[in-house]
Symmetry: C2
Subunit: 673 residues, 2 copies
């Protein structure tokens, strides 16, 4: 076709709205943007060309392309911005600390709550960077930005690339090129150059440093081993964050300040919730009385929900013979993450013991302890079982990364026909848990096996079955979800609930795992209606995930101000002076008789100090009693945040507290009404 032939040396563009453009050979996405409007061209950050994120200045090859111009409004834009910010920071550091500064890697961070990018440096002998130096580096970055230096993509052969890096003395880059060549020997390597600075990088980047703007901030300096290996040299890592808008930056900084205030490790100590004690061991929290109450309330509520749903409670030991874990497959698979084996001396005639990393083998033994028929299924065994995993001590943090933790665990043994309804009911329970605690903002992630990995147990067809069971349920429930290969448990695929807390951080909490494999390893059976022996399917699930982790997150979510039903102390009775102590004790008795947790502040302090103390302790309600209250047989009620709620009779105070407790809400009923 003539017309077609004619177009061979041209670029034809299809735009998202369906319209088309034709350009001469060598045209860039910037030209496409200019073809739409000058304003768009000036706002252009990068382009999506045929589904691939590309520099706005890269020439398009001849032929047809779909092109979408990326501006700061597109979700992909922020990563480009932050990536360029890392390069600009590196350029500034080299300017300030000399060109003999070595640089290794400098990625954009999109999932990190605190940081948006970092770069690792190996500084010249005798030089170092501290937090005090960050403003100076920021200033130098501002100069580079003001200079609007274009970022140019350069592709080189490996040999040319190594020669270039040798010329500027960047040994880490040479090591990285060598490694890359081992995998793909004839790769073309891409570099980005901005003035006198050049870095190996996949891109894309902003067209020039001026587009970075002024909504960036360097946050902190830390040590980081080259390649994360403690046998390598410790490099200097500078963390920063960047946005398109100053307002976003300010909100981010504020959120980080807020997170510091909510730090559950600080609040945990301050409010007497839990204790981490080196003498006991790292990552082994001890629950103090106030934390124990929260834990017991949460557990008690969940136990009630489990009973309603036909779960049966069990209790199992914290250790089991080594052979049990060989059968389950936990032993070889999890060995690196286990506490060391308890080996018995020769001649004791017994196998060694392991501290349990999971409850499943025990629940399986309970299932096996009696003959099951299809009429007995589903069997739903639940346990708040404490498990132990030997995480590296450097990875431990408060209640959220520990070595000893409870699982709000259950194992459901059912027929294949019952499976999807059971998964659905697990999803329902998890949603109820999150909704009850006000954690309504979550996404769902399906963890699939990585087909290339050998770490998974069991037959491929079982995996296919299980993955499809899960997909069908989330589709039926019309849930938004992503699929992530390589995120499955070793015995089966799973649904994870990734929850966003009130300041925007994401936490993986509830999990539902489908397992056709352990039933085979343990040879589980039931007699079906056909009188033959069949294999049940198992679900492992924990709607909270772990009470430790969950409560750690709740502490931060509520900033320690727990809803009434969970609050360790629900009300403080504050007599204005000793004269009213008798009356105050009567109020305390009335509240206690109603099953409420109450403190009496009988200290000699002034009422203002008493109110401050109760507020700092985040006690939901204060009942102030003085002459007027005694006379009118009332209490003057204050809420920790909503403040004064006026005078009311002791009876209506109790009634209101009970109503709020039963509602499990986090809003103060007394003040709202």
């Amino acid at each position: 076709m003539f017309f077609g032939q004619c177009e061979i040396n041209m670029v034809t563009i299809q735009l998202p709205d369906g319209s088309k453009q034709s350009h001469d050979s060598g045209a860039t996405a910037l030209a496409v943007a200019e073809g739409i409007s000058p304003r768009l061209a000036s706002a252009a950050i990068a382009a999506d060309v045929d589904g691939k994120l590309t520099d706005i200045t890269t020439p398009l090859s001849d032929g047809e392309h779909t092109v979408r111009i990326i501006t700061s409004r597109d979700p992909e834009a922020l990563e480009v911005l932050r990536h360029t910010a890392a390069h600009v920071m590196a350029q500034a550091v080299l300017r300030l600390y000399g060109n003999d500064t070595q640089y290794s890697i400098g990625p954009a961070l999109m999932d990190d709550f605190q940081y948006g990018f970092y770069y690792d440096f190996d500084l010249p002998e005798g030089k170092s960077i501290s937090a005090d130096d960050l403003p100076k580096i920021e200033e130098e970055m501002a100069k580079i930005i003001d200079a609007k230096i274009p970022l140019q993509r350069v592709e080189m052969s490996p040999d040319d690339a190594k020669a270039e890096m040798k010329k500027i003395g960047q040994s880490y880059k040479i090591e990285m090129i060598d490694d890359m060549l081992k995998e793909t020997p004839d790769a073309k390597l891409s570099f980005y150059r901005q003035g006198d600075f050049i870095d190996m990088c996949r891109g894309p980047h902003l067209p020039d440093t001026g587009k970075l703007g002024n909504a960036f901030k360097l946050m902190s300096v830390a040590g980081a081993y080259w390649r994360g290996d403690e046998n390598n040299k410790m490099l200097t890592r500078i963390y920063g964050v960047a946005f398109f808008d100053k307002k976003d930056l300010a909100a981010h900084v504020e959120r980080i300040e807020e997170a510091k205030k909510r730090d559950h490790r600080v609040l945990g100590r301050q409010l007497g919730l839990f204790l981490l004690d080196e003498k006991v061991g790292p990552g082994l929290p001890l629950w103090l009385p106030n934390g124990s109450i929260i834990r017991m309330e949460l557990e008690g509520w969940l136990r009630g929900e489990l009973l309603k749903r036909g779960y049966q409670p069990v209790h199992t030991p914290h250790i089991g013979k080594l052979d049990l874990w060989r059968t389950s497959g936990h032993y070889p698979y999890y060995e690196h993450g286990l506490f060391p084996t308890m080996n018995l001396a020769e001649g004791e005639g017994e196998d060694g013991y392991l501290l349990k990393p999971m409850n499943c083998p025990f629940h399986i033994q309970i299932y096996k302890s009696s003959q099951k028929s299809y009429r007995d299924l589903p069997v739903r065994l639940s346990e708040f079982g404490q498990v132990y995993r030997f995480e590296q001590s450097g990875e431990l943090s408060g209640l959220t990364r520990v070595r000893g933790f409870t699982q709000d665990d259950a194992h459901i043994f059912c027929t294949p026909e019952q499976l999807e309804a059971e998964i659905e009911s697990c999803v329902d329970l998890t949603k109820l848990c999150l909704a009850t605690l006000g954690l309504d903002d979550y996404r769902v992630r399906i963890g699939l096996r990585d087909p290339d990995s050998a770490k998974y147990t069991g037959k491929s067809e079982n995996w296919d079955l299980a993955e499809n069971n899960i997909r069908r349920v989330v589709k039926k429930l019309d849930m938004n979800y992503t699929e992530e290969p390589g995120e499955a448990a070793f015995y089966g695929p799973k649904i994870d609930f990734v929850v966003k807390d009130c300041i925007g951080r994401e936490w993986q909490l509830g999990t539902i795992q489908v397992d056709y494999n352990l039933p085979e390893r343990f040879d589980l059976e039931y007699t079906a209606a056909d009188n033959a022996s069949h294999r049940p399917v198992m679900i492992h699930r924990a709607p909270l995930g772990s009470p430790e982790r969950f409560i750690g997150i709740l502490i931060e979510h509520f900033a320690g101000a727990f809803p009434l039903w969970l609050a360790p102390v629900q009300a403080a009775v504050l007599p204005v002076s000793d004269k009213f102590l008798n009356y105050a004790q009567g109020v305390v008795r009335a509240l206690r008789n109603a099953g409420l947790r109450v403190d009496l502040d009988d200290s000699p302090d002034k009422i203002g100090a008493k109110i401050r103390r109760a507020t700092v302790q985040k006690i939901p309600y204060m009942a102030v009693v003085g002459g007027r209250e005694v006379e009118s047989n009332t209490v003057a009620v204050r809420h920790r945040t909503a403040g004064d709620a006026g005078a009311m009779s002791v009876e209506s105070f109790v009634e209101g507290l009970l109503a709020e407790k039963i509602s499990r809400g986090s809003e103060p009923l007394h003040v709202a009404s």
Copy 2:
């Protein structure tokens, strides 16, 4: 004095009623009995001479003696009878299996529920004894009894004794003589001879075999290592029991039959309460759903009582660094009874870990985690903490001897002035627990240190203090108690509650331990009113002892028929036929809404079979529903033991059950009313 001189070659006797007798030199206690009445002489079993139990036929030395004649009515008599029974059994075995049968030891057992005596034999090559042989041995014993052979006490020098034993070829006895000589080289050894049988024995014995009578029975045969050491030869042990009266023997045999029926290991399986599984490990019970419910109810009730008494709940890990246990003194002291240490590899930079045998060091660390003033004391930290001890596998039994068990533990930290009131309150709580479970028959034992043993920690003056604190409290409370040196914990003396169950067996349950020593080892402090730092005292206490052991005993005490509040299923609804299923489901709903645990028997079985099944499952109440009940809107109520309770409205059935549940009684309210 002339009269006095004259009496030098005479025996003067003071009797319990204050009267006196005079006898010629060489008179026996039998002569004293004859001096009272021929009937007493014929009933005489042994004598208490100057406070020491003695043969009735041993000549009394010249001079004054107090003498009390022992007959079958005296509590000391049974041990003498059983001791002679052991000798008679040994004589019978030698007659039947040959004089080359070796015999080692044959004690009377007074504290054993099942057995009254045993003897260990090393039978000639090729011979053995099984349970089937016991009647034959009993027959031979009867012949020896009929022959009324006198038992004669013979005292020998060690050399003569060894010569005698060598002559009859009893090598175990020679070994025992040698051992005895090591301790007391110039002891006189006593032997008892009855016809052709002779045995080394302290005595006393019945005067002749005829007095043994016919109220004896050989119960079982078992293997037993010589000296209880598994490196030694396995001997054949024959167990028997003997009484003065056939009726007592019959009652004993019946009680043992009853105990078999109540065996908690059998009932535990039958009622789905718990599971012991070799694959998990010996002595590590898994609580099945029904048992878990009992455990949770018991725990929940106790938690409520603890809250009322000002205890604070805590939760602590199941492992702790080795050094924590070195500080506590558990590590060297308890090492033989611990699970093996979890040793970390070189270079992991951490101490090893131990599975906790006790909760105390964790509660101590919690106490230490914040500054304490006298106003904060007493601090009462409570935990249902699961601990692990490596008992020998041969000693394990059901729930009563295990390796993993919970303690209903608490540690009270108080000032020395508060101590006795706190002990008193612990006694009170323990009594409440026993009374609530209907275990009202108990005695109290004070365990003191053995002053000759080195296994106790701490200063002698602290032990004196603690022992006196305990004595003062039990005296103040007017409790019957015995003191037992050597029964203390390694850190302090204790009060133990030894409970008799409904068939007369004794179990050690609740314990209260006073401890001045761990506060020193852990350097605990509080600031007193004088503003100086002082040392608190600790109480370790567990009113149930251990829920595992306690429930094991409760299962036997109630023969599995738990009171309503503890019953795993509280009511079964039994429709007479499918036609009434709808109505039955309504009844189930009404019961469940009231918080009761209910089963619906919707099987196609006849009503008789349904009633039988619910009765076997020991479900307290059955609600039978048929045409008449549907019409009159009632249920026909049956109690598992009391039987028919007539028809009543669903509401009054529910009300009655709730009232019975709240009362925590074990009597059926519905039938009683």
